[in-house]
Structure formats: structure tokens, C-alpha cells
């Protein structure tokens, strides 16, 4: 290849590298803007020209976690000096933290929504990947009548728009009292992710040579022992990748959560937009909430990078 490379090709290579860098910068700009707005004082969030260099602040996060009200009059110097640092940054923004009768700080809705997201995403992931691993092994190693149709059926349930599935689920949940409950959402997300998990895990299982188990069976293992002691350790990477995909899907899900929950079991995705409301939103607080919410997924993306292709295409294409 190098032998036939002309100088114009090398020149084009340089242009391509510059273009790639520019595209990367453009693609990351919105994410950078979320991250930087999350550390801005409120008055710098919506300036023209946009503020790029500024003294980072933690106040958006303090505001994100607490209930606040407008300050009628500025605090006295004594009050200000006596207040802890997190109270002062709120004072600086012309607000104060709301406390109840016992002087306890009132939390905003965000921490409980974040916790709900964690509980629901983790539990549904464990269930979907757990069941999916067994089922994928079953499909991978044994003859199943109508296997192709069954796999299509498993996949097709995931292809429907969430609202289509949500209408009857809403009615059924209302009938059995599962609306706005953690269990209700966990079941929904498990069902939603299970099909994906079976498809992806089947691909990983197919790649584990059958000879490994055969050798174990000859050595006197039962099929169950072979599965747990030979196959599962071999499939560990695949299980981890599948789990991260399921987690991200459940974590990011919006439509089901919007329809099925409103308060007690509400997750972060429907909660964050509901905070914009009317009037002038405080974009620094929204950015802070968004930033914290995106952080786990950003970390996972880096861990997953070698499996992204397979996961995003339902294992249709492998590297």
C-alpha cells in the first residue's frame, strides 16, 4: 500500500485528520456545554457571547439537591458568616434553602429520582441478564422446535414503540395497583431488556466452543456443572457487556417512566424535563442534573467500547 501512495494521498490524509478532529469537536460540543454549564454561576449560563472561561462553581449542584426560595432581603453579615459554605453559595445567587419546622434542610426531588433510577435500572438488569444467559445457552446448545420463529418473536416485542405497549400495561397495572411502583417499572424494563439480552448472549454463547463442555462431560461433569463451571466463566465478558447495555437502556428510558410513574417510583428522565416548567428555567441546575445523570453512561461507554458494535446491532455484525 505504502509503495503506491502518492504525495497527494498523503496530503489528503492530513486534510482528513483535520476534518475528523473538527467533526469530533462539533459532536462533543453539546456534551461539553452541558458539563461546563453545570459549573457556572447562573448569570453566566445564558450570555451572548457565550461564556467559555469562568470560575467554576459548585452552586448548581447545591441547588440541584435542595429546595430553595427567593431571598426577600439579603442575609445579615452575621447570618452569612454563620452559614455553612453550601448555604452561602445559594445566598450568593439571591436564594435561600427551604427548611422545615425542625430546621431540617428540604431536599429537592432529584436525589430520590436518581436513587429510583439506580434501583430500577440495576434490578431489571440483573433479572434480564440472569434469565437471558440461561435462555441464550438453551437456544445456542440445544435443538428448539421453531427456533427462528421463537427468536423473531422474542426480538419483535422490543421493536414496538413504547407507547403501544404502555397503553395496555397502564390499564393492567392500574387494575393490580402497580402504577407508580418500583416493581412495576422493574418488570417492564426486565421484559423490555430480556429479548435484547437473549439475542446478544446467544451470539456470545455461540462463540464458546462446544468442545469445552464435551470434554467436561466426558470427565464426569453433569450438564449443569459444565454450564456453571465451564460456560459461565467463558461467557463472563459477554455477560458484562450485555449487562452494561441493559443498564444503559433502562437508565435512559423515558416513555414508560413518563406514563407509568409520577412521583414515588419516578426515575430521573421524566423528572428532569418536568423541572423546566414555565418562566425562565435555571439552566445551571438542569445542566447539573443532566451532568450527574449522564456521567455513569459516559463511563460505561468507555468500558464498553470494544463491544459497542455488536450491542448496537443486536449482534448482527461482529468485529
Amino acid at each position: 500500500m505504502a509503495a503506491v501512495r502518492t504525495s497527494s494521498e498523503i496530503g489528503f490524509n492530513r486534510v482528513a485528520i483535520v476534518a475528523v478532529l473538527m467533526v469530533t469537536i462539533i459532536f462533543l460540543a453539546p456534551i461539553y456545554w452541558i458539563a461546563s454549564t453545570a459549573f457556572k454561576p447562573r448569570n453566566l449560563a445564558t450570555t451572548i457571547p457565550p461564556t467559555v472561561v469562568f470560575q467554576p462553581e459548585i452552586s448548581p449542584f447545591v441547588k440541584l439537591f435542595t429546595k430553595r426560595s427567593q431571598l426577600r432581603s439579603p442575609p445579615t453579615p452575621e447570618e452569612y458568616a454563620a452559614a455553612p459554605w453550601w448555604e452561602r453559595v445559594v445566598f450568593d445567587g439571591g436564594e435561600k434553602i427551604v427548611r422545615d419546622g425542625k430546621d431540617q434542610v428540604q431536599w429537592s426531588g432529584y436525589p430520590s429520582r436518581f436513587l429510583n433510577s439506580l434501583i430500577i435500572a440495576i434490578t431489571s438488569t440483573v433479572l434480564a441478564v440472569g434469565m437471558g444467559t440461561f435462555t441464550a445457552y438453551g437456544f445456542s446448545r440445544f435443538k428448539v422446535k421453531g427456533e427462528a420463529d421463537l427468536l423473531f418473536f422474542i426480538l419483535s416485542t422490543r421493536m414496538l414503540p413504547p407507547v403501544v405497549v404502555a397503553i395496555p400495561m397502564f390499564l393492567m397495572y392500574r387494575a393490580v395497583g402497580l402504577n407508580d411502583s418500583h416493581i412495576g417499572l422493574i418488570i417492564l424494563y426486565t421484559a423490555f431488556n430480556l429479548s435484547f439480552s437473549v439475542w446478544l448472549m446467544k451470539g456470545f454463547m455461540d462463540e464458546i466452543p462446544k468442545e469445552y463442555e464435551e470434554a467436561a462431560l466426558v470427565d464426569g461433569y453433569t450438564r449443569m456443572e459444565a454450564f456453571f463451571k465451564i460456560v459461565l466463566p467463558e461467557a463472563a465478558t459477554g455477560i458484562a457487556a450485555t449487562a452494561v447495555f441493559c443498564f444503559i437502556t433502562a437508565w435512559n428510558e423515558y416513555a414508560f417512566a413518563l406514563i407509568m410513574t409520577n412521583r414515588r417510583a419516578q426515575t430521573a428522565p421524566p423528572f428532569i424535563p418536568s423541572q423546566v416548567g414555565s418562566g425562565l428555567p435555571d439552566w445551571t441546575v438542569i445542566a447539573a442534573g443532566t451532568f450527574l445523570f449522564l456521567l455513569p453512561v459516559a463511563i460505561f461507554t468507555f468500558l464498553l467500547r470494544n463491544h459497542l458494535l455488536r450491542g448496537m446491532s443486536f449482534g448482527a455484525i461482529r468485529k
Binding site: 453539546p30 446448545r141 421463537l150 426486565t190 462431560l217 443532566t290 455484525i317
Partner: protein, 301 residues
């Protein structure tokens, strides 16, 4: 073949006598999942099929009356619903075409020796992993006419992205293109890296021009994977709800999912929304069927 071999091997081994038979293990592994999916995915759909023939409203206690095919007839004669389908089709075309162009273009640029290529690729993939609803919300600030960075960066003054009914759908599609071009890029990269190098060498020896090489070698060989990307993205774009629902409330961006949501959970026309859900479901199943057939064909190669 290999499976039967294991089975025979299993029968002759002593271990098989101790443990469960292969058939019971297969059933134990597969049946619970299939049952779970039937209860939580198929049963609800049967339930809503029943309601689709009634005038049921979930907001009242009035019993549902059987109205036969009335809901379906009304929906298929409703120009409003047809316009929702038309908006959805327009959105799918703009958004998928945009993703295809940007995604494949970036993949072509990336498909060479570049320092830090792995890192750049991973960074480029970040948008599609994020929550559409949450990131979509932030795009409202980016699109803001007076202090959004998009207008500032492009020097557009106070251009109305989301409040202009004509522009709003394009703005939603643009955000979708930003989120999902990386997906097309990822698939294209896989396709491009699978093109045998010797074809390019042969083309270079034959003094083939870059256009000839692209249209006669690169494109035909990457086409199957691009097709997968297109079908996949078409299905996803057809389902779009979050992004459009959060970014605007313009009637010009009312995709079919949003119409369905409003009908079911704001107007509480439960029976009719079940019927519309079925119309959508049949369309999705048709596309899915094509997709899976195609997928199996590609996989066989």
C-alpha cells in the same frame, strides 16, 4: 450435527444419569423466559386488541361498549391521523438520510491511520449512548434564539429553531442526526475495515481514479452493512417519541407516537388509542419482518 453429538455423548456418560437430562435443562432454561415474555409482552397486546373494538375511556367508570370496527374505520378516515403519519414519514426520511450521510462520511474520514483513532471513535460514539430525553432537553438551550450557542456559532442572529412551525421538525431531526450518526459511523467502519486491501491495491495498479474506486469497490462492499444501518435507524426513527415530545409542542412535529400518547393519556380515548396502537404495531411488525429476513441473509454469509 454438533448438538446431536453432545446428546449421544451425554447419554453414554455416567454423569448424565446423575444430573438433569438435556431436554429438561433446555426446557428449564428456555420456558420461563418465553412465559415471562408472553405474560408481559404478548398478553398486554391481546388485552389492548380487545379494547380496540370498544369505546372504553380509562378516565371514567363507564363500562366499555363494543363498537366493532368503528375505531379503525374512524382512524383510517381521519385526515389528522394521516397527517401524523405523513409527519412521521418526513421525519424518518430527513433523519435517516442525514445520519447516513454524516455517519458514512465520518467513517470514510476515520478509515485510515490516524493517531488516537480508538479514542476519537469512542468519543464520537458518546452521543448515542446518552438519554434522548435528558440530552434532548438541553438542546432546547442550544437552540435558544437569543442565547443558544448554535445561533451564535453559525452567526444566525435570533433564528427560530423550535418555535417556527416549519423549522421545528428539522431541528428535532438535526438533534437526532447528532445522536445517531455515530451509530451509522460505527457500522460503516466495520464494513469499511472488512473490504479486502488487495482490491484497493489492484485498483491502484490499474490506475483507477478515486471515484471509480469508491463507486466500484468501496460502496458495493459496504452496502449490505449500510442497509442494516438504514433499516435499523428507520425503525427507531419511526418509534421516536422522547426527543420530539420534549423539544417542541408544535403540531408540525406531532409524530405518530406523540399522537398516540396524547390520545391515550391526555384525551383518554383508550379504546380508539388501542386501535391506533394496533395500526402502528402492524406497520412495525412488517418493517421488523423485512429487517430480520435481511439480517439472517447477511448473517449467513
Amino acid at each position: 450435527m454438533a448438538t446431536t453429538m453432545i446428546t449421544t455423548l451425554d447419554r453414554s456418560s455416567r454423569a448424565a444419569a446423575r444430573g438433569l437430562s438435556d431436554i429438561s435443562i433446555r426446557n428449564l432454561f428456555i420456558i420461563p423466559t418465553v412465559l415471562f415474555l408472553i405474560v408481559f409482552n404478548i398478553f398486554p397486546l391481546i388485552y389492548s386488541l380487545g379494547y380496540s373494538f370498544t369505546d372504553f375511556r380509562a378516565s371514567t367508570n363507564a363500562p366499555a361498549n363494543f363498537v366493532g370496527l368503528q375505531n379503525y374505520r374512524d382512524l383510517l378516515n381521519d385526515p389528522y391521523v394521516w397527517s401524523n403519519f405523513a409527519i412521521t414519514a418526513k421525519y424518518v426520511i430527513i433523519s435517516v438520510a442525514g445520519q447516513l450521510l454524516v455517519g458514512f462520511g465520518v467513517a470514510m474520514l476515520l478509515n485510515r491511520d490516524i493517531p488516537l483513532k480508538g479514542l476519537l471513535t469512542t468519543l464520537l460514539l458518546l452521543p448515542m449512548m446518552l438519554s434522548m430525553a435528558v440530552v434532548g432537553l438541553f438542546w432546547k438551550l442550544l437552540y435558544d434564539p437569543s442565547f443558544g450557542i448554535i445561533n451564535y456559532a453559525l452567526g444566525l442572529g435570533t433564528f427560530e429553531w423550535l418555535s417556527d412551525p416549519k423549522m421545528a421538525l428539522y431541528a428535532v431531526a438535526l438533534t437526532d442526526i447528532w445522536m445517531w450518526s455515530p451509530f451509522v459511523m460505527l457500522l460503516s467502519l466495520a464494513g469499511l475495515s472488512a473490504v479486502p486491501k488487495h482490491l484497493y491495491e489492484a485498483a491502484a495498479i490499474d490506475r483507477a481514479g478515486p471515484f471509480y474506486t469508491f463507486f466500484r469497490i468501496t460502496l458495493p462492499l459496504v452496502a449490505p452493512i449500510l442497509m442494516i444501518a438504514v433499516i435499523f435507524r428507520t425503525m427507531e426513527a419511526f418509534k421516536t417519541f422522547d426527543l420530539a415530545y420534549i423539544l417542541t409542542s408544535q403540531p408540525t412535529t406531532e409524530l405518530i407516537s406523540i399522537r398516540l400518547y396524547k390520545m391515550a393519556f391526555q384525551e383518554w380515548q383508550t379504546g380508539r388509542s388501542c386501535a391506533l396502537a394496533y395500526i402502528v404495531l402492524i406497520m412495525v411488525l412488517a418493517i421488523t419482518n423485512i429487517y430480520v429476513k435481511y439480517l439472517n441473509k447477511v448473517k449467513e454469509r
